[in-house]
């Protein structure tokens, strides 16, 4: 099952390709109601049983994410991490965190988000933000 939604001024674009075992989230993320935004994605992930098979990639380019949304992302990553357990090796859940090369704090956010998860390989990638 695939899932996608377009970005708005408060929410990122989301693209789940269950066959390729990839999830991409890109944009700014501070929805008024995080549950209303994340629950359809969670339902799609659960319907596709992506946690049950090995290797899944979550790629995030979030220029801004608020605390409530971060809690939801952690909730999803924890579920994926537990699913890839059962003797699985570290790296079965690959989290690619793309962030502005001038913003070291954004890298720390990724470490906070994945701290304590057992099967995550965190990959940090830079991008150059356009001049403002």
């Amino acid at each position: 099952m695939n899932f996608s939604c377009h970005a708005t001024s408060l929410t990122p674009s989301v693209l789940l390709d269950a066959r390729e075992r990839k999830l991409r989230i890109e944009g700014e993320c501070y929805p008024e109601n995080p549950a209303a935004f994340f629950e359809p994605l969670v339902a799609a992930l659960q319907a596709a049983h992506v946690e049950a098979a090995p290797a899944f990639e979550v790629r995030c380019r979030l220029t801004y994410v608020n605390s409530a949304s971060l809690a939801w992302l952690r909730r999803i990553l924890t579920w994926l991490d537990r699913g890839s357990g059962g003797g699985g090796e570290r790296g079965e859940l690959r989290v690619v965190w793309e962030y502005d090369e001038e913003d070291d704090g954004a890298a720390e956010l990724a470490q906070d988000l994945t701290s304590g998860l057992h099967h995550v390989e965190l990959v940090e990638e830079h991008f150059s933000a356009p001049d403002r």
Binding site: S9, L10, Y30, E32, P34, A35, E39, V42, Q46, T63, Y64, N66, S67, A68, L70, A71, W72, R74, R75, I76, T78, W79, R82, D100, E102, D103, D104, G105, A106, E108, Q111, D112, L113, S115, G116, A129, R132
Partner: protein, 189 residues
């Protein structure tokens, strides 16, 4: 201090603000207010890490207002919506830092819990705040458990983590018992 006097006082405190929204605030207004803040940050030439932290602080503080503020006693729309509140949201440059300030009314029963959370944060150093933030993120619920709540605790921690100084706040109760309390919060980023 009466709630109205409290809001007038905040108007004076934020009179030098580079950006200020004062008055009624609704969820539907938020995108427009956020766009105003973006434009102000653009005009100030704030870049990358500093910009993200300032904008993050603005969002967390404004969402706290929208989630937790009490409608004022004379707010006619409050009767209809139950969620319309009067508040101040302001930002300004001060030397190398930018401050973000909010002021709003809260119910008397909200005061003790909020004061406890803020006073606990006030005694923590930056490393302790970061460690607590990481711990709180990791302690969140996993699927398929119940969804997270409004994250008031994580929201305040996010603000404290990005702040350059301890958070400044005041809680000014109304003159009569049971009256609303004026809550002011300022973060230097």
């Amino acid at each position: 201090m009466s709630p109205a006097a409290g809001l007038q006082k905040e108007r004076a405190r934020t009179s030098g603000a580079g950006f200020r929204h004062q008055g009624q605030i609704l969820w539907r207004d938020f995108p427009q207010i956020a766009q105003g803040v973006r434009q102000w940050l653009d005009a100030e030439g704030v870049r990358a890490a500093h910009r993200r932290k300032v904008f993050s602080t603005f969002v967390e503080m404004t969402y706290n207002v929208l989630h937790h503020a009490a409608p004022g006693p004379r707010d006619p729309l409050a009767v209809m919506s139950g969620r319309t509140v009067m508040a101040t949201v302001a930002l300004a440059s001060e030397g190398p830092e930018i401050w973000v300030a909010t002021e709003n009314l809260i119910k008397p029963e909200q005061v003790a819990g909020l004061a406890e959370r803020l006073s606990r944060l006030a005694v923590l150093g930056p490393d302790e705040v970061r460690a607590l933030y990481r711990e709180r993120v990791a302690a969140g619920s996993a699927l398929p458990g119940p969804p997270p709540g409004n994250n008031a605790g994580l929201g305040l921690l996010t603000i404290a983590r990005d702040a350059a100084r301890p958070l400044q706040y005041s809680l000014a109760p109304g003159r009569a018992p049971g009256e609303l309390t004026t809550f002011s919060l300022r973060a230097y980023v």
